[in-house]
């Protein structure tokens, strides 16, 4: 086992810091998420370490609680879209033929519906709650993951070693998980890191459509929007959640990079 590089350590450290603060939000947050404790946009002080927000709530507390919901929803939705998108894509490639074609074109069809219309239709048909939210986010993203995974897998599927496995008479499932998936991991992991960020941002968009988080709870993107008016006048309340998202994004991707280098070295000898 190689030593973990410094960058990955930093990534792991920040990611776990965010995770821990999300898990222990109730102990860490100095005030309640909805509690109005001060004036509008107070600067940082001993009482309010990050200042207050647009109606006088403690920004730090909102960030901690916001992190909880942001990370949870984004993680679950990303996991959903990845597991579903990747498995569908790999199965489609390995099975091939009309199944591949039908599924791929169906995905194209879903993708072609403008997101706004899709979200509004969903909203009008099903009740808006956390489960719906995660399903909508995950399912909309399945289309993107599917297309990428299929593109990668198609190239691998025609490689000699996959052919060889077929000739050996291996099962489809075996080919998918033992031959194709390990060799497709690198682009998929990179995509995973980015999809996670998109989910974080998408969440706040959906919140404003009425599909997402209900006030007074908020996600980080939502906190950015709540405070955006002050941004151009030097009020930092909108910047802090934005910085948090960026820090999370970078650290998650640092970890992804590290995982990536592990997987590439894993499959090292196979192709030879």
């Amino acid at each position: 086992m190689k030593r973990i590089p410094l960058s990955a350590l930093i990534g792991l450290f920040i990611t776990s810091l965010f995770l821990l603060s999300a898990i222990f939000a109730d102990f860490l947050a100095p005030y309640g998420v909805a509690e109005v404790v001060g004036d509008v946009w107070e600067p940082a002080s001993d009482r309010f370490l990050l200042g207050t927000d647009s109606i006088g709530r403690d920004l730090l507390s909102r960030m901690i609680y916001g992190g909880q919901v942001t990370i949870f929803v984004a993680l679950t939705a990303t996991a959903l879209s990845f597991s579903l998108g990747t498995s569908l894509a790999l199965i489609a490639v390995v099975v091939g033929g009309w199944f591949d074609m039908a599924l791929s074109r169906f995905i194209d069809l879903i993708m072609s519906i403008p997101t706004l219309i899709f979200a509004l239709v969903v909203l009008s048909v099903v009740p808006a709650n956390l489960v719906t939210l995660i399903l909508v986010m995950g399912l909309l993203d399945v289309t993107r993951v599917y297309r990428l995974a299929r593109a990668v897998a198609v190239d691998i599927n025609v490689m000699d070693y996959v052919e060889a496995a077929r000739l050996r008479g291996e099962q489809t499932v075996w080919i998918v998980f033992r031959e194709i998936l390990p060799n497709a991991l690198s682009p998929l992991v990179a995509e995973l890191g980015l999809r996670f960020i998109f989910m974080v941002l998408f969440l706040s968009t959906l919140s404003f459509l009425g599909l997402g988080i209900q006030p007074p709870a908020a996600d980080w993107g939502g906190i950015v929007k709540e405070n955006k008016e002050g941004l151009i006048y030097g009020i930092s309340a909108a910047l802090i959640p934005a910085i948090a998202i960026a820090a999370l994004a970078i650290s998650v991707n640092l970890v992804a990079d590290w995982v990536l280098s592990k997987t590439t070295s894993l499959k090292g000898g196979r192709n030879g």
């Binding site: 909805a34 509690e35 109005v36 509008v40 647009s54 109606i55 006088g56 403008p114 997101t115 706004l116 509004l120 909203l123 998408f202 968009t205 919140s207 404003f208 459509l209 009425g210 599909l211 209900q214 006030p215 007074p216 929007k225 709540e226 955006k228 008016e229 002050g230 941004l231 151009i232 006048y233």
Partner: protein, 520 residues
């Protein structure tokens, strides 16, 4: 992905757009065309950056429901009368004079001669008649239809336009100041959206939701208005972008400066802000016929649980006044100030809540920032204070999209906005009469209805004021309206824009800023 949080709020607009002047009913307090101190300088291109325009907009005055078309219609067309800057006097525009007959049941308007439309035709009383018909006939979609009810017949004799009402209404001249009722050639029956009127500026370019360009109309009849050579409206729906456009000198005027940043914004060089106290109010409405809001104690509990001062301070940043659970404030004529202000009182709130016998299940307030700017903030503050009184208030954020058709008037408890109306009679009639279309509290109080009809026919001012005071008391006590605040209009101007004055009936000088200001 799309983001509609920037979306403008199409209904937010309604009232101040529709609002005309508060009036001394039946009085003949009439002034001539507006007169501003100082001699206006002519020339220049006056560019406004406005919030509230969509690519779905039309220049048809009847269909105008947005801030941008409100300004555009004001620039190219004119009404018979305007409300003066004091908010209650009347100014003659396309009507040269008017007189009531038959105890206020019949009204004669003398139409001005020598006024030309932008297409070269001369204005006739027939154009006026046709315009009024288009806004009141069976096929109309006009936003002014509410105003036009109660008209029995209309006729023209030479240059006299006559209106016969079903019942006397001393407020009729004020109703005709509604900007939807801009006079069009042949009443707009031929092509209502062509943008031809008698206004000081004629339309030269129209891109809905993007921009409108105007040029001074050379044959305009009134030299005291329309000082710019050119005039342009650019739709800038984003608040920060609008501020940037004014600060960088791309536009000379913006509407709807967000109150939270107004003070910070006014510190920028070359920029000034002007505020107007109006009749618009940011409210929460309960359906008084739907459980649990059919319980008077529960309604009172909620009314006592809202911290009005805090809302004015935090949501309006002080640019507004506290409301008193009626839609009427001192900007209205015949306003009665003896109604005691309802104070924030958690004890009383808790007491009424207990008395209501509510089962403690969540009371859901439906809200979206489309209802009014800062509605979500206001609702969250309300939720905090209500919970402090033990009232289980919960919020449900609704999509901005479809709010006015799917939430407002459908959900029993939601955020809403009213811009106010020209006169008390109209405000009460459109919003609180049990049979009113926009009775958004499902208010049904026979005594109130009777008083309203009595007031309309009452020509004695003092008595009328007394009746209105009684009505206000009923709504304050029984009604479904929680009115925490009246908002101010905040306009942003370049320093060299001169001649601005407030007009309580609407922002940007009741829509006349392009006609009445000039560059110094």
């Amino acid at each position: 992905m799309s983001d509609i949080s920037f979306k403008m709020n199409r209904r937010s607009f309604l009232g101040h757009a529709g609002a005309a002047g508060a009036a001394v009913a039946g009085s003949t307090l009439i002034t001539g065309p507006a007169f501003s101190a100082g001699t206006p300088k002519k020339g220049g291109n006056f560019i406004m950056g406005l919030k509230g325009g969509e690519s779905t907009n039309s220049l048809d005055p009847a269909l105008s429901t947005s801030h941008v078309t409100y300004q555009a219609v004001r620039a190219y067309s004119e009404t018979l009368l305007n409300v003066g800057q004091d908010g209650s006097s009347l100014e003659y525009r396309l009507a040269e004079s008017f007189e009531p007959a038959n105890g206020g049941q019949t009204w004669h308007f003398k139409i001005r001669k020598g006024v030309k439309f932008h297409n070269g035709q001369e204005l006739t009383a027939n154009d006026v008649l046709k315009t009024m018909e288009r806004h009141s006939n069976d096929e109309t979609k006009s936003g002014a239809l509410g105003v036009m009810r109660g008209i029995e017949s209309m006729s023209v004799d030479g240059d006299i336009f006559t209106v016969n009402l079903t019942t006397p209404n001393a407020d009729l001249p004020h109703l005709l100041t509604d900007y939807h009722l801009g006079i069009q050639p042949n009443g707009g029956f031929d092509n209502p959206a062509e943008g031809v009127g008698t206004g000081p500026y004629r339309v030269v370019a129209e891109e809905p939701g993007v921009r409108y360009a105007f040029e001074k109309f050379d044959d305009y009849w009134d030299d005291s208005r329309g000082h710019y050579d050119k005039h342009e409206i650019i739709v800038i729906n984003d608040d920060a972008a609008r501020a940037a456009a004014l600060q960088s000198g791309q536009v000379q005027c913006i509407n709807i400066v967000p109150p939270k940043t107004a003070k910070l914004f006014s510190r920028a060089p070359n920029v000034k802000i002007e505020t107007t106290s109006g009749k618009g109010h940011y409210i929460f409405v309960m359906h008084t016929d739907t459980a649990p809001f059919d319980n008077k104690d529960l309604r009172l509990a909620l009314k006592y649980a809202v911290n009005r001062a805090e809302l004015v301070q935090k949501v309006l940043s002080g640019y507004g006044e506290v409301g008193n659970d009626t839609p009427i404030n001192s900007a209205y004529n015949l306003y009665d100030d003896s109604l005691p202000q309802r104070e924030f009182d958690l004890e009383k709130a808790a007491e009424h809540y207990k008395k209501s016998g509510h089962d403690g299940s969540p009371i859901v307030l439906h809200v979206s920032d489309v209802a009014f700017a800062g509605a979500l903030d206001a609702a969250q503050l309300f939720q905090q204070s209500a919970q402090a009184a033990g009232i289980p208030l919960e919020l449900k954020r609704e999509p901005a999209d479809g709010y006015w058709s799917e939430v407002w008037n459908k959900k029993p408890f939601c955020a809403s906005y009213w811009g106010g109306r020209a006169v008390q009679d109209l405000m009460w009639s459109v919003g609180y009469l049990s049979t009113a279309d926009w009775n958004d509290t499902n208010f049904n109080n026979p005594e109130f209805d009777e008083l309203l009809l009595e007031a309309r026919a009452e020509l004695d001012q003092a008595k009328r004021k007394e009746i209105y005071a009684k009505m206000a008391r009923i709504v304050n006590e029984e009604g479904g309206i929680i009115n925490p605040m009246f908002n101010q209009f905040i306009d942003g101007l370049a320093q060299n824009v001169t001649g601005w004055h407030s007009n309580p009936n609407g922002n940007l000088m009741n829509g006349f800023i392009a006609s009445l200001t000039w560059f110094e």
